[in-house]
């Protein structure tokens, strides 16, 4: 898509289905990481400390140039950089498949399910699906500039939300005495017993700020940290953590594509004005909780509009300025218009395309067939099962298999994206070097070196914008739009022509 690089980071949940105290989600996560990098050699494990919370062996970069690792107890997959939305939807699904493959090969799929969602109903834990958009350094990273993004982000959940049963009881960091003493406390802002039986998005209950730079406790609608992972003089990276993990491919494409276009509207001074909310956080939550799906909001001006009206204004601006820009832009514009118009007819018109609508349809059907009340625990279990990444079991995958959820990639392309990077971003150069490390046997070498290796002198360091192999200078990829195809191959050739591994000073005695 024009002038944009996209990426998605997904934190997965792990459901241990049997009552086995010795099998915990963190144990399963470790087994998967060891299998993926140690046995399958599907990338190279990091052999250095990455910050204070990632010790050597915690994860690594994959052959497709994405990264798989354990973060705060969750398996997390960071996609490679994508210039194309079609690449993005393929590499996003490829992360699911890589993990499910590991589970199957480890013989754990009867015991464990990988759940691509953002909440658990029991403890009110939340975990994220983070979106990354590369913007120019000139992007107005000010309250005024980012404020133009706010009404779009608050209302886009009508087609990006993944839906959930109920609501979170209390946000992180706020446990009232009433909660502790069982008097309900914070429940006054809405609860199952007060009518929030089902809401359209999973993350709003956990978003407590409009702008903030950190990613846990005090999560914000717009994360403002300045970490471009590219040339800081040319680029910024907008990092959003308020969205849900999507199963529907159309929802993934629309979430990333429409947000990319709105960023372009802001960059080029065409964004709609005057759509501010006095309290964006409360508005975000109120839209998600609205069981009538009217999604009416009040602007700071006092004007009453629906979330769909606001989306329509953004669509009109984008269509006016960017229609015909490129194929992907035209696709996004057409589907954005279509989904907003169809939502005016009711949620059933977007089943298969919008996750919350698909899930609600399934739950309603099942509830009627089994004569269940909304608070029946079976419905929460089905809510989770919608997000099971196993194509043989997951409810989203069941809909797709029956043709009830349109596909925008193919199984062959997803299979390919498990091991191949996008070819028109720097992911390609990173993948070339990762392949070279694997081909040269360094992955085997590292495996044998466990317990012997000095993490202060790793044989390689791989990062998003710079790599270095021991004995060679750093290889910098500051421009995510370049593939670095020739430079990366030259770098590998030069490395191979250096003295053999046996003569390197860090060779362990094994």
């Amino acid at each position: 898509m024009h002038n944009r690089i996209f990426g998605i980071e997904t934190e997965y949940g792990l459901l241990i289905k049997a009552d086995q105290p010795d099998v915990s989600p963190s144990w399963v996560a470790r087994r998967i990481i060891e299998h993926l990098f140690g046995q399958k050699k599907h990338g190279v494990i990091d052999w250095h400390y990455r910050g204070h919370d990632e010790p050597p062996g915690n994860g690594g970069f994959l052959l497709n140039a994405g990264r798989m690792y354990v973060d705060m107890g969750h398996l997390e997959y960071a996609s490679p950089e994508c210039h194309s939305l079609w690449d993005l939807v393929a590499v996003d699904r490829a992360g699911d498949w890589l993990l499910q493959d590991c589970l199957d090969e480890l013989g754990l799929s009867e015991l464990v399910s990988i759940i691509k969602n953002n909440i658990d109903h029991e403890t009110d834990a939340t975990f994220g699906c983070h979106e990354n958009y590369l913007v120019t350094r000139d992007f107005p990273f000010t309250y005024q500039g980012l404020g133009l993004l706010m009404p779009f982000l608050v209302t886009r959940q009508v087609f990006t939300g993944a839906g959930r049963i109920g609501m979170a009881r209390s946000v992180d960091g706020w446990i009232s005495l009433d909660d502790i003493e069982g008097r309900g406390g914070d429940r006054s802002r809405g609860s199952a017993e007060e009518g929030v039986l089902y809401q359209i998005s999973q993350r709003p209950d956990y978003i407590v700020n409009d702008f903030f730079e950190w990613v846990q406790h005090n999560r914000a609608i717009v994360n403002t940290r300045d970490e471009p992972l590219a040339d800081p003089e040319r680029f910024r990276r907008l990092h959003l953590l308020m969205g849900d993990s999507n199963m529907a491919e159309e929802a993934t494409l629309l979430k990333m594509g429409t947000t990319g276009l709105v960023l372009q509207l802001i960059e080029e001074g065409h964004a709609p004005q005057g759509l501010d909310f006095d309290d964006p956080v409360q508005t975000l939550r109120a839209i998600s909780h609205d069981s009538q799906q009217k999604w009416m909001v009040t602007l700071s001006t006092g004007q009453h509009l629906s979330a769909l009206d606001i989306q329509e204004q953004f669509w009109e601006a984008a269509d006016k300025h960017y229609a015909g820009q490129d194929e992907e832009t035209d696709w996004v514009l057409a589907h954005w218009e279509s989904v907003v118009k169809d939502l005016r007819q009711g949620y059933q018109a977007v089943v298969g395309r919008v996750d919350w609508a698909s899930k609600l349809s399934l739950l309603e059907t099942f509830r009627e067939a089994e004569k269940l009340e909304w608070d029946d625990p079976w419905l929460k279990s089905l809510d989770l099962e919608y997000h099971n990444v196993d194509p043989q079991a997951g409810l989203y995958h069941g809909m797709a298999e029956e043709g009830d959820a349109p596909r925008f990639t193919t199984n062959d392309l997803v299979e390919l994206a498990k091991g191949q990077p996008p070819r028109n971003t720097r992911a390609f150069g990173r993948s070339e070097i990762i392949r070279h490390i694997v081909k040269e046997g360094w992955a085997d070498f590292i495996e044998k070196a466990i317990g012997h290796h000095d993490p202060r002198r790793p044989p390689y360091v791989i990062n998003w914008s710079v790599l270095q192999l021991q004995g060679s200078p750093a290889f910098v990829m500051a421009d995510p739009f370049r593939s670095y195809v020739q430079e990366s191959r030259d770098y590998c050739d030069e490395w191979s022509s250096r003295p053999s591994m046996e003569s390197l000073p860090n060779k362990p005695d094994i």
């Binding site: 949940g13 459901l15 241990i16 289905k17 009552d19 989600p25 973060d71 705060m72 107890g73 969750h74 997390e76 194309s84 079609w86 399910s113 658990d120 109903h121 029991e122 403890t123 834990a125 939340t126 975990f127 994220g128 983070h130 992180d172 990613v215 953590l241 194929e327 696709w331 057409a334 589907h335 218009e337 279509s338 118009k341 169809d342 059933q348 018109a349 089943v351 298969g352 059907t365 099942f366 067939a369 029946d376 625990p377 279990s381 809510d383 989770l384 099962e385 079991a393 409810l395 069941g398 298999e401 029956e402 043709g403 009830d404 349109p406 062959d412 392309l413 390919l416 996008p422 070819r423």
Partner: protein, 71 residues
Amino acid sequence: MKNKYAYIQTGGGLERKEQPIDPLSKPSGPGDQESGPKRPETDSPSRDNLMKRMRKVDPKQAEKYRQRTGE
């Protein structure tokens, strides 16, 4: 929708190759199309298969799903 990329067999194995092929077709408006999948009829074969999947789900599995808070 036609995909923009195709995969090809090369000396180095399967590779993805950008194809200057069929432009993406715009969906028509909701008034002149079936406007996406509708909620299937309860007695349709596809809904039967989905109901089978749903009935296989352990009604108590949500109680076993206890995660750490992440980011």
